[in-house]
Symmetry: C2
Subunit: 151 residues, 2 copies
C-alpha cells in the first residue's frame, strides 16, 4: 500500500485539537448555501417569489452563476425548482435559512451595539456571520442585552 502510515495533517501532541484553518475551510464550504437560502427566503417574503435574476442582482453575480448554484442546492435537497420557474425552499432549506438569518441578525445588532456605523456593520456582518462558534454567538447576544439600546 503506497499510502504513508502517518499523515502530517496534525502534529501529534495536537491531534485532538481543532485546526483553525481547517475550520475556516469548512465554514467557507457552507457559506454559499447559507447566503443563497437566506436570500431566497427573504425574496419570497418580500416580493412573493425568488427569481434567478433577482438573486443574481443581490449577490452581484451573473445569472448563469446562480443557475449553476441552484442546481447544486437542488442536488443537496435544499431547494426545489422547475425549469423556468421560481425557486422554493425545502424544509431542510428553511431550517438552514432561518439559522442563517438569525446569525446574521445577531452579528449585525452586535456590531451596531459595539458602535459600528449601520452601513459598515451590514457589510462586515455578511462575512463574519459564517465564522462564529456557538460560544461566540452567545457572547455577542449577551453583549447586545447588556447594552441599554444606546443612543
Amino acid at each position: 500500500m503506497p499510502l504513508q502510515e502517518k499523515d502530517t495533517y496534525q502534529e501529534k501532541d495536537d491531534s485532538s485539537r481543532i485546526n483553525p484553518f481547517v475550520r475556516v475551510r469548512e465554514d467557507h464550504a457552507n457559506e454559499l448555501s447559507e447566503d443563497y437560502l437566506e436570500l431566497i427566503e427573504d425574496l419570497i417574503d418580500r416580493t412573493g417569489e425568488a427569481r434567478t435574476v433577482d438573486i443574481a442582482a443581490k449577490l452581484g453575480v451573473r445569472q448563469a452563476t446562480v443557475t449553476k448554484a441552484i442546481a447544486r442546492l437542488k442536488r443537496e435537497g435544499l431547494v426545489t425548482a422547475a425549469p423556468y420557474r421560481s425557486i422554493f425552499l425545502t424544509n431542510e432549506g428553511k431550517k438552514i435559512a432561518s439559522r442563517a438569518r438569525e446569525h446574521h441578525r445577531t452579528v449585525l445588532e452586535f456590531l451596531i451595539a459595539l458602535g459600528v456605523q449601520q452601513e459598515v456593520a451590514e457589510i462586515d456582518a455578511e462575512g463574519i456571520e459564517h465564522h462564529l462558534s456557538p460560544a461566540t454567538l452567545a457572547a455577542m447576544q449577551r453583549f447586545i442585552q447588556q447594552q441599554p439600546a444606546a443612543a
Copy 2:
C-alpha cells in the same frame, strides 16, 4: 455589439453602494495570501525558517498544495524561494504579514475581552480577521481599551 448595455450587477438606485457579497468575495481572494504570509513570518521568527512541510502541517493541507500556493505568492512578488530551499518574505510580503498579524491579534484580544474562551477565540479569529472594515477594527480596539483587562 452583443453585450447588453445595462448590466444587472447593481440595482440602479444602489449603484454607489458597496455590495456586501462582492466585498466578501474580495476578502476571500486575499485571505489565503494573508494567512500564508503571517504564518511564514511566524515560522521564521520562531524556528529560524519557513519550510513547506511545516506550513502544510499548520494549515492542515498537503505539501503539494503549499508548493502550488507558494508559486502563486512568488508570482505576486510576496515571497522568494529557491527550489528545495526555505521561503522568505519580500518587503511587500512583510507588510501584508504584519498587517495580518495585527488584525489577528486585535480580533483575538477582542473576543477574549468579550468573554469568549481562549481556544474558541483562536479558532473564530482565524476566519473573522479577513472580514473587518477599518471602522470595525477600530471599534474592537476601543472595546479592548475600555475593558479593565478583566479577571
